[in-house]
Symmetry: C2
Subunit: 141 residues, 2 copies
């Protein structure tokens, strides 16, 4: 048995080669708070009580780094990843309009069987990004 | 300006071809609550007020699905992704022992400059999995 229950996800990662485009999309269009930008390596955002990490896999899959003498393990994926970000269901119409105003195409809009709706779009790197009501998973908004 | 602040990350995704091995690792070793298993496609877990989604990219990158007539966008990445899961700093020694007991090698252990520690390991698919105190990002435990 695990010693404790894991409290939550702390870091969610996606990969993008164009970090400036990712910064514009997640920071400006989606409005996440940028907390770090290292040219050619990563851009990080705060989101609720966790962080969204966007890495350039050309760097993070190949270039070792250390912190206080300990290696930070390499990672880096290719191809479309997926993330969903939580907004209240009542806010989705305003988000739909905001995304259109910013030239972001809505790839699909799903109404889930047990309630909740999702707007799907692509980030500039082609990752599948979903804005959704947490009720689709049975969570409170 | 975005119409509202995004509340939090709702879905965090990783990719694995062997979903039964992923199920054992995330469900049994890490103790996340499994909420769905579809053979050959995905295994899903609840974690705090969000979900961790493990997809077989051979399926999700190629086989279209629909919900209530709307397409669910395709995605699927290859190579090592990264996730961090939050536990209190005081619980890390018990987690280190638990992981060793279950044959999970600790790839690295980092002490962060502003406090907080991380244990790094690999899931069976090679994704970089970190168990860490939220204080490393300035969050409460």
């Amino acid at each position: 048995m695990p010693p404790t229950t894991i409290a939550r996800v702390l870091e969610t990662s996606l990969y993008a080669e164009d970090l400036r485009a990712a910064d514009h999309f997640y920071g400006t269009v989606l409005g996440l708070e940028r907390i770090a930008f290292v040219e050619g390596r990563h851009v990080f955002f705060k989101c609720g009580a966790g962080v969204v990490l966007i890495f350039d896999p050309r760097t993070t899959a190949t270039q070792p780094t250390t912190v206080n003498g300990a290696p930070v393990p390499l990672h880096g994926a290719r191809g479309a990843g997926h993330i969903a970000l939580a907004v209240a269901d009542a806010e989705l119409p305003a988000w739909r309009m905001h995304l259109r105003t910013n030239g972001i195409a809505i790839e699909s809009e799903v109404t889930w069987p047990r309630g909740g709706r999702s707007l799907y779009m692509r980030d500039p790197a082609g990752n599948s990004v979903e804005i959704a009501s947490p009720t689709l998973w049975g969570f409170q908004e």
